[in-house]
């Protein structure tokens, strides 16, 4: 009974502390100081984020049930940064009248889901992973239903919760099969047990595991909730869902696939994932082409982005892992920039369709500029960060050296053209199309503005500052052993 082991997971513990403080503030502070809750939370979280950047002790705790290493540390920091941006963006929104009674809950749920994601990232035991997964998904259903006045919010919540539970059922079934094969739920132990396994059962279990995590990542064909939930949920929640949740799932997915099922890489899951990636990128793109609602549009765009992220998984090497983390980081900034703009406009005008954005540049140059940066970054246009992340993830994938992966990358590259098309449609609406009744000049709140500036700077600088990617490669190189089975 060594409870000091909890110190090996400082980020999780710290997060719970933040949660507790917010919870206490929310519960015990008088009504009049409640309006300061967003600021309180944001500042608190900012401090927490800053502290987290202090390198932490590396090691595994609870007899290998959970592990902290440089990669998880970095990944959690990336998520923290994203979370911070989300909090900044949401501050103004949570002070709206209808949010008054559940402002505290909003923050509490966000922090708890983040905790769940941290568990997913660090877990080296499937039980812990499942708990993390559920913690990360169930409260989001509640968050999606926050805007009670909007019908879409309810529909989104319902769709999310049903598909999420179904998905977790499938995932658990898969885990049960894994358990049946390996007799243990510790990652490392499973890995040693399945070496040389070529059974159908393992393949089915793998398929179900991919489906379960693929649901969180919104990989095709497990993606269909994404668009509806993104569109229906409050924009702050959508933003959160689209980047933080996806980032955590991607990282843990890579860990599971590499560390647990590494032995089955070339025999099975490389090809399963191969098919999924092609489907994800293509179908996501095809759907995104036709969308007019920007949130829905970004949903499909994020589906196809998830496909690109998966290239880092199929790479199954440290370079691919670093590229994937880098991709997530860039994606955090790009997507949050887009959502920041959408949220700012939606909050004040309620408009979310592409056509509403016609002529935006004339009235709101900075918003348009930020949005354009986001679109270019998502589309992979240099010198913005998205270009670098795309390039690195392709390099990571191609490092496997197999011709099939080259073909896959080619398909992904061809798809970037389609994606560029629809990203440019947004740019076109803002810059090229003219509209006499364009959205009037808006005044964003401080939080929104700060978030946008952070995102814009991130988009511009992350690619140019090579130190980020370089250190990520060092972190992943330190845990190269998780790929030992590949």
């Amino acid at each position: 009974m060594d409870y000091s082991q909890f110190l090996l997971m400082p980020q999780e513990v710290g997060l719970l502390l933040v949660f507790l403080l917010v919870f206490i503030y929310d519960t015990f502070m008088p009504q009049r100081s409640q309006r300061a809750l967003p600021v309180f939370t944001t500042v608190l979280f900012a401090i927490y984020t800053a502290i987290c950047f202090v390198p932490c002790e590396v090691g595994s705790a609870f007899a290998g049930m959970i592990e902290t290493n440089q990669a998880t540390w970095a990944m959690k920091n990336i998520l923290n940064v994203g979370m911070l941006i989300v909090l900044m963006q949401a501050a103004k929104w949570t002070n709206e009248e209808f949010m008054r009674v559940r402002r505290g809950e909003f923050y509490e749920l966000l922090l708890l889901t983040l905790f769940g994601m941290f568990l997913m990232i660090s877990a080296r035991h499937f039980l812990l992973f499942v708990i993390g997964l559920e913690t990360a998904s169930l409260p989001i259903a509640c968050l999606a239903a926050f805007e009670k006045k909007r019908y879409e919010s309810h529909e989104a919540a319902a769709k999310y919760v049903f598909t999420a539970i179904f998905s977790s059922a499938i995932f658990l079934l898969g885990i049960s099969f894994v358990y049946g094969i390996a007799g243990t739920l510790y990652y490392n132990d499973i890995a040693t047990m399945i070496i040389g396994q070529k059974s159908t059962l393992l393949v089915v279990a793998l398929a179900f595991v991919i489906a379960g995590v693929g649901f969180k990542l919104s990989l095709v064909p497990f993606h269909q909730w994404t668009a509806d939930v993104y569109q229906g949920a409050p924009t702050a929640v959508t933003a959160y869902l689209s980047v933080i949740s996806k980032g955590a799932a991607a990282f843990s997915f890579l860990v599971i696939m590499a560390q647990v099922f590494g032995a089955a890489y070339s025999t099975a899951w490389e090809w399963m994932l191969y098919a999924v990636i092609i489907l994800t990128i293509t179908i996501g793109n095809l759907f995104a082409m036709r969308q007019h609602n920007l949130k829905r549009f970004l949903a499909f765009s994020s589906i196809s982005q998830a496909g690109y992220i998966m290239l880092g998984v199929i790479a199954a090497n440290t370079l691919g892992m670093a590229s994937m983390m880098y991709y997530v980081l860039v994606y955090v900034f790009s997507n949050l920039a887009a959502f920041g703009v959408i949220a700012a406009i939606e909050r004040q005008t309620g408009k979310t369709t592409t056509d509403d954005y016609n002529g935006l540049f004339k009235t709101n140059p900075w918003l348009s500029f930020t949005m354009m940066l986001a679109m270019f970054s998502l589309g992979g246009i240099p010198p913005f960060a998205g270009f670098f992340s795309k390039f690195f993830i392709f390099v990571g994938a191609c490092k496997t050296g197999s011709v099939a992966v080259y073909v896959l990358v080619l398909i992904a590259l061809v798809n970037t053209i389609i994606s560029l098309y629809y990203y440019l449609l947004v740019v076109k609406a803002m810059f090229i199309r003219q509209d006499d009744c364009a959205i009037p000049t808006l005044k964003s709140s401080c939080g929104e503005r700060a978030a946008m500036i952070v995102c814009a700077l991130g988009i511009i600088l992350i690619g140019l500052a090579s130190c980020i990617y370089t250190s990520l490669t060092e972190y992943t190189a330190a845990i190269a052993n998780i790929f030992s089975q590949i």
Binding site: L319, A322, F376, I381, P382, P383, F387, F391, F392, F394, V395, C398, K399, G401, Y406, V409, L410, L413, V414, T416, I417, L420, Y421, L424, V427, K428, F431, I432, S466, Y469, T470, T473
Partner: protein, 504 residues
Amino acid sequence: MIFDNILIYFAIVPLLTLGGLALCNNKGIKAIRAVAVTGASVLVALALYLVKLFLDARGAGDTSEMILRSDYMWYAPLNIKLALGVDGVSVVMILLSAFIVLTGVFASWKINPLPKQFFLWFFLLSTGVFGFFISIDLFTMFMFYEVALIPMYLLIGIWGSGNKNYSAMKLTLMLMGGSAFLMLALIGIYFHSAADGNYTMNILEIAKNNAVPQSWQLYLFPMAFVGFGVLGAMFPFHTWSPDGHASAPTAVSMLHAGVLMKLGGYGCFRIAIYLMPYAANVIGPVFLTLTGISIVYGAFSACVQTDLKYINAYSSVSHCGMVLFAILMFNQTAMTGAVLQMLSHGLMTALFFALIGMIYGRTHTRDIREMGGMMQIMPYLGVGYVIAGLASLGLPGLSGFVAEMTIFFGSFEHPDMFHRVFTIAGASSIVITAVYILRVVGKLLFGAVQNEHHRELTDASWDERVATAVLIVCVAIIGCFPNFFVNIITDSFLPVVDALKNAM
């Protein structure tokens, strides 16, 4: 220190200009123009100084493949460096770009609306172009390449005319489609750049290692070639060019046809052929066929167009086809001719587009059937157009002639009958070129005035005169003193030709 190398300033100066423009007031058109002209002039001065440096270095017996070499590690995990260096080809391409940028600024003197934004994008594009020419690292080259492409979308979309949305989208998507293939090719090259696993992105090192396996070359070469070939308007990937040029604003057409399309040709030999000589030898004839078709096909298509810009765009297809055609001949003379043709086509097409833009700005039509007798109304522009036309159809004393002759004579050196036949077919384009150029000149400039309203139009203003005069002088200088340029260019092709020979 990175700033020690003069080359980096070719990327920094446009960026500084960008910054300066960003500080300008939206309404202060004077300040905006001043900043733009200053930036462009500094670039020209730098380019001229670079030529001097190059000549000095060569004169001093520096025979290294690239001069002004310096490497700055950027992404250490992938061994990506900001590797700078120029050889004769890059030097002249930089010179060309600088002049086109300068004249482009003058050609868009009265751009409206949003002059500030226009110049911002314009200089971003220039950054990409210069960056491409100064770097010899695959990654940075590719990055700058794409930086140069994307501003086109907004430049055409916002300031273009006609069916601009369609054209801008088509252009962007097709070019990016090409670069998608290119990116894969680069990655493929990267992972075979060294036999010992010390992969590198540096072109010189890759060429030296010569480690790309032949089987991979056969896959990667077509991708790289098509990737650049799309930008070089190679048949059948040229269709973005007519629409794109027709819709683009003047300066953008100039820059695009004048410089951007050159990135295609430059990349084709510097990356596709130089790094994968085996595949170039094997697959070259296939692309040679395509480019040969481009030459004749573009010229024939131009014969029936009625829109001035379409005529020019198809003519560009033909001329740029000649560039790739010559590059694929794999001998020094033809390749030198290709670069001369790039220079020539760059200047002459820029001149054409500038003049067309000026005429369009006055008549608001580009349909040659609706115009006539312009020579009487605007003699300056008319004479300019005739000169551009003569340069295009290869009048000695102007640049087109020397370029084409070097290409034809170089190509004819190829001992293979297949190449000879294509050379002759390509050479026949000089007649077709004459046909469509004279057709336009006859309809547009000569004859009776078609529209009486046109009689009230004015001739060129001073800024327009500057733009066209600079270009005409450049065209004439290349045409009259080709050996100056040939001497700069030709030795740069030795390594490529050697590589090709060794790979045979």
